[in-house]
């Protein structure tokens, strides 16, 4: 198939960027979206033009490194799919495809389609953990966890940290991301001692990093490749409210 690409090119964080058109020729339908970009890049290199820079690593949908806003949608048109797992058979021959970076004030562009998502790491540093010193753990079966809680915790833990939720949200909110970690740990008995502190600190950090608040657009849920449900945001709100009250009373 042949395609016409409109790709965001930007030399570095400080340079202005713009959309540049590139034709993509003879793309196999079974190629992934990133393999399509590989083919375009090989052609650019052969013409001594700089290849398009984009983030990617595992190419099997789990590392969360790939990004891209494809035709206006984070990770492209397919539901529950990362860009690396999007295949060209879902596009029409002759289509024009726009490719832009994840956009959010908290995700500055580093080059072309690559953005800096380290703000998400800093939110995790603020409290996205259970303190568990090596050597002090009790036997794994000493505290049974009801299957439904473990399953729900796993639903939340499946977050791959790609940041599509932020890119899709009109407020550039990171609440789906934060709610996933807060919910996972709040659902497990091991997460109880730090439950109050965790949610307060993570939300505070999220605000400091410039992410917006949730105003119920559900765009995050629609683009999430790991199918994290927006109901976790409701849980985050509950956790946050209760933690504030507890904090006040303490």
């Amino acid at each position: 198939m042949n395609l016409n690409l409109k790709v965001w090119r930007q030399k570095n964080a400080d340079a202005p960027g713009k959309l540049v058109e590139y034709p993509a020729h003879n793309i196999p339908e079974d190629a992934s979206f990133l393999e399509m970009l590989d083919i375009v890049n090989e052609e650019l290199i052969s013409k001594n033009e700089e290849p398009i820079a984009f983030d990617h690593d595992c190419r099997e949908g789990i590392c969360g490194m790939c990004s891209l806003v494809i035709d206006g949608v984070a990770h492209g048109p397919n539901r529950a799919t990362t860009t690396c797992q999007l295949y060209m058979r879902h596009f029409q021959d002759g289509a024009t495809i726009s490719i832009e970076p994840f956009r959010a004030a908290s995700f500055p562009v580093l080059k072309d389609l690559i953005v800096n998502r380290s703000a998400l790491d800093r939110i995790q540093q603020a409290g996205g953990f259970i303190t568990a010193r090596v050597g002090s753990a009790p036997d794994g079966n000493s505290v049974p966890v009801p299957k439904q809680n473990a399953d729900l915790a796993m639903d939340a833990a499946a977050c791959i940290g790609c940041g599509a939720c932020v890119a899709a949200c009109p407020n550039a909110s990171a609440m789906l991301f934060v709610s996933a970690k807060v919910s996972q740990l709040a659902l497990l008995p091991q997460g109880q001692p730090e439950r109050t502190r965790r949610v307060l600190q993570m939300v505070r950090k999220m605000d400091e990093e410039g992410f917006g608040n949730c105003s119920n657009h559900y765009e995050c849920e629609a683009v999430c490749p790991a199918e994290i449900k927006a109901t976790f945001i409701a849980k985050l709100n509950r956790e946050y409210a209760i933690a504030n009250v507890k904090d006040l009373l303490a």
Partner: protein, 637 residues
Amino acid sequence: MSLDSKIPSGPIEKKWEKHKFESKLINPANRRKYEIIIVGSGLAGASAAATLGDLGYKVKCFCYQDSPRRAHSIAAQGGINAAKNYQNDGDSVYRLFYDTIKGGDFRSREANVYRLAEVSANIIDQCVAQGVPFAREYGGLLANRSFGGAQVSRTFYARGQTGQQLLLGAYSGLVKQIAAGTVQMFPRTEMLDLVLVDGHAKGIVVRDMVTGEISSHAGDTVVLATGGYGNVFYLSTNAKGCNASAIWRAHKKGAYMANPCYTQIHPTCIPVTGDYQSKLTLMSESLRNDGRVWAPKQQGDKRPPNEIPDSERDYYLERKYPSFGNLAPRDISSRAAKQACDEGRGVGSTGLGVYLDFADAIKRLGEPLIRERYGNLFDMYHKITNEDAYKVPMRIFPAVHYTMGGLWVDYNLMSNIPGLHVMGEANFSDHGANRLGASALMQGLADGYFVLPSTIGNYLSTQLGKKASPDHPEFKKAEQEVNNRVRNMLSIRGKRSVDSFHRELGLLVWDKCGMARNEAGLKEALQRIPELRKEFWKNVNVLGENEELNQSLEKAGRVADFLEFGELMCLDALHRKESCGGHFREEYQTPDGEAQRDDADFAYVGAWESPGNGAAPVLHKEPLDFENVHLATRNYK
């Protein structure tokens, strides 16, 4: 130099206990005076950084990804082994040890493997305490499943995303330490050289992948946890960024590379479809618990699978290995698939594939249960191939997955270079010639949470106040060398892209040093790799500059190292005139096509030294003694 493995004396079940007692401790007040450099943030690197940081050491951790949470450990699907015997099915530390030694085809070190089995139970406890949401039974206890090469259910799992959950557990410990200030994290930073001062590993030279700045970091010890070298084959299940540069740079500075010919070809991957393909995708081995592997009995049978009656199907694993059946170890299953395809019985458009069929399991257990167990894998398969594996059998073919070889280390996980420690897939130590399923996660976390934190004191205690300065001439010299190499690559401006060289190398080593190897093929590869390398340095086209984010330059450095590494891999495969585990030499097989070991001549670790200045690599041997598990032919029949 002789290879002293420092294996403690005494009975196998007492060795680790004894060694921990005899190991040097570092006084808590002194720990903050030591700086530890860790390269890599996968299971081994992240767990070690978190644990050492928690102990009070000053840690610097480096990764090439934009976040430590993205290391390729995250992609492991199936599970992690532990000798808990929660299922009451006869498991024990000794049985896990025995299975791993046998699975490794008697080419691993008994003492290391026993220790691995011993700490496996602690790993599960640690992960549960961190909030890793392992699968559970309705009663709330941890669930288990069986996995390739084992007859007990000792594998713990979190749906099909066990690696992700374990890595995020280690990452959570790591971010806690980053917040506490004990660990300093350097994402998007790549190690380009190891620096030795007076023969000791005292630091690294790195490139900031955003600005291109090349700088030095000095410490008291360097720990490499940089994963395996599977991407030498270009197509593998590894992430695109996985590379051997850190271990190869260390090798060129004197660290011995052990058993590089031991590569694991995983039996259940999605087959290759075209030459545009950039990577291969694994379908977890756990699928073999319920899926049946088969190929048509007739050559060139092009009928759709559902039209081939049962009587014309060859369930070859069940036929050849009745007691293990579809759960036969990886090396054996891969070779059996290759054999079926070599006989012209392969399926799919390329003829390089066999079926993994769930029809019987769906009939027996119902689709909802199969969906609960493997739903995400079936979805992934559908995304990639556009086929519904609930209705038609999956097509699978073996692909490069894991590398058992790596830098040589002693019982303390220290290489022959004092101060250089190596963990996880980057070292050679625990899997022999073939790794069993669900053992990689176990080793990464065993090394990082339990082993290195207990053994590192043996080196550090000798080094108080001996830290080098990054202004030391050795650092300046290494920085200069890195700079020259980078400038050199950027100045060639030839006609071929980096990827074109990588693909050519990959095809060559897959063909000559892949699932089956022979003397003629290896000799041919040993002639062609240096030619390709020569062409690379004359004709590669790396655009852009160093002082920017430059993905072509990053790749070029890694491929240049693969072009050297690949040669050593083939040399090792040529010298090892036997078949064992993942190393199958066609000249050495039993009449029915099984691997034939030569214990009299090859029961040793082959550790290669790079003498430098273009001289041929020198082989050192560490003999392997089997005092507990007696050398025997592996039998899965």
